[in-house]
Amino acid sequence: MTLAAMPRWLRSGRVLIGLLILLFVVTCALFAPYLAPNDPNEQNLIATLLPPAWADGGDPAFPLGTDSLGRCVLSQLIYGARLALTVALIASFGAMIIGAVLAHVAGYFGGWVDWLIGRIVDIWLSFPPVILSLILMVGLGTGVQNVILAIVLVDWTRFCRVLRSEVIVVTRRDYVAAARLLGFSHWRTVTREIAPATFPLLITLLSLEMGVAVVVEAILSFVGMSVGADIPAWGQMVADARQNIYQAPWNLICPILAIFITVFGFNVLGDGLRRTLDPRLSQTERG
């Protein structure tokens, strides 16, 4: 990223909105112990399903009320941001690394390497992503590391497919041929000449992928295939609240909003980056 490009993408309203939302979520995650009014796992069986503090019967000690075990909803939301962001950051970087390396290899060398990688991507794409991640979780077992691993193993194709065509376009440019003629090695050509040109696309995809990872983690914890019950997770909150949908609808709305706001932050940021950094990339896939 050159300095001259900085103001241009920071001037975009979408990038700013996205960054502000994410700054808020990251702050919640980092300072959870200081921000949360209660211990998120502390059960209080005489104060279950309390409404938010401003509603009738609300308790100011639990600003957003309590769940069916009397746990503080606000504290769970704040701590839940930790899991969501951990998974989003690590899993999307992992998926990016695998996807980007394979995309550059396939697009740059072409030929049978490209064919092989293309066929592997085809096989992956014939699995609906939800199904593949569930099956992987069955095989790997639950736990944060395995959630991350499953997302990496499912989502690297998102990077690979889109980046590969970009790499092919860049590889055909004259300056790449010039670099080869100057005697640059393949490694140096790819890392110094091609990768910088595909970098804007990479950053955009990374931002979108983080949103996808938040959703996948929520889905997995919703069906009980993510982390243990002692780690607050938004998907788990949704699953719990679903049992008491008539008595405590606010219990359901809070985690839904948390997931929505976080994913919206990543998507708006990604969209803003796409518009400012790479006008050619078309939105060809969900999320």
Binding site: I131, L136, R286
Partner: protein, 338 residues
């Protein structure tokens, strides 16, 4: 024209076979590394070690892995997915009972997604350059940020709990008989003339299908908008304008026809994703389709069902992509003359 289409179709189907083989191998391997013993699971808990060993031999679990895979594959090729460990019934029958419901849900959801997507895309394009476009555009990102299962829960809250407007569990209310001819509830109730049942089933389908459809519509909107923007650069649009055609006629009669093609191929990809999305919607709405079968099987580590359902999802996704490709070919004359 039909010869070229048939040739391309045949090639697509031929390519799908090795993909399916590899997918099945992958499924088999992932599930065989699990630290569970299907033999012990299919016997009562008081079975002796010798009995379990005998069962292992009987089930072929002592054979080398490639051989186990070959046996499983040859049974699958004959339509036999084995017997469920938990439910003790034929897995093929279980899939036969649940697949039609899932297809019904997916098709209706895709229709809703396409209608919303095309209408939204036209609207976004129509408002191009105005302030409302920016609002709508950010709105479509917001739509995109709410995944299908959250839409599902949100709609339950809104229409099921607060307004008590629509039912949100199962496929039929109590007291309705389920006709069983093809397995497709909507089709069956129409064939047998049970319109009350049909209407009840439609009411049950509205919320899940809408939740799924609305969450898959924003990408369609956005691609249609951008391909309309591309198409409007072409000379024939200026020419149509010079001929004095109204803007509406240019948009609907000329531009949309060309812009819909890239949208169509995206919709094919979307349909595949949407088909996977039915899983969560089915859980949320207690809808008796493959998704619920799969999640129950996962909770009970019922390997034969997991393998079979996983493979069925892949087959359906491949079939959808082949169908969309051939539709694309029929609609786009440029591709035929190769």
């Amino acid at each position: 024209m039909f010869a070229t289409i048939a040739k391309l179709l045949a090639r697509r189907i031929l390519v799908s076979i090795p993909i399916l083989l590899l997918v099945s191998m992958l499924l088999f391997m992932i599930l065989r590394v699990l630290p569970v013993d299907p033999a012990a699971m299919s016997l009562p808990p008081n079975a002796t070690i010798e009995e379990i060993e005998a069962k292992r031999v009987e089930m072929g679990l002592t054979l080398p892995l490639p051989q186990q895979y070959a046996i499983w594959l040859s049974q699958v090729a004959h339509g036999d997915f084995g017997t469920s460990i938990q439910l003790r019934t034929s897995v093929t029958r279980l899939i036969g009972q649940t697949l039609p419901a899932t297809i019904e849900l997916a098709v209706l959801a895709m229709a809703i997604a396409s209608a919303l997507g095309i209408a939204g895309g036209l609207l976004l394009f129509y408002l191009r350059g105005t302030r409302s476009e920016t609002v709508l555009d950010v709105g479509s990102i917001a739509l995109l940020s709410l995944p299908e299962f959250l839409w599902g829960l949100f709609l339950i809250l809104l229409f099921g709990v607060w307004f008590e407007f629509l039912p949100f569990t199962g496929v039929l209310s109590a007291g309705y008989q389920k006709p069983d001819i093809t397995g497709f509830l909507l089709v069956d109730s129409l064939i047998t003339g049970q319109f009350a049942t049909f209407w009840n089933a439609v009411q049950h389908l509205i919320l899940p299908a809408f939740a799924l459809g609305v969450s898959f519509s924003p990408p369609i909107m956005r691609v249609l908008r951008s391909s309309l923007l591309d198409v409007y650069q072409d000379d024939y649009i200026h020419q149509a304008r010079l001929r004095g055609l109204s803007e509406r006629r240019i948009l609907i009669g000329h531009a949309l026809k060309n812009a819909i093609l890239p949208t169509l191929s995206l919709m094919g990809v979307q349909f595949g994703f949407l088909f996977g999305g039915t899983l969560l919607i089915e859980i949320i709405y207690s809808y008796p389709g493959m998704g619920n079968l799969m999640v129950d099987a996962i909770r009970n580590t019922d390997l034969p069902i997991i393998q079979a359902v996983g493979l069925t999802y892949c087959v359906v996704v491949l079939v959808i992509s082949i169908l969309v490709d051939s539709l694309y070919l029929i609609l786009n004359p440029k591709l035929r003359t190769r």
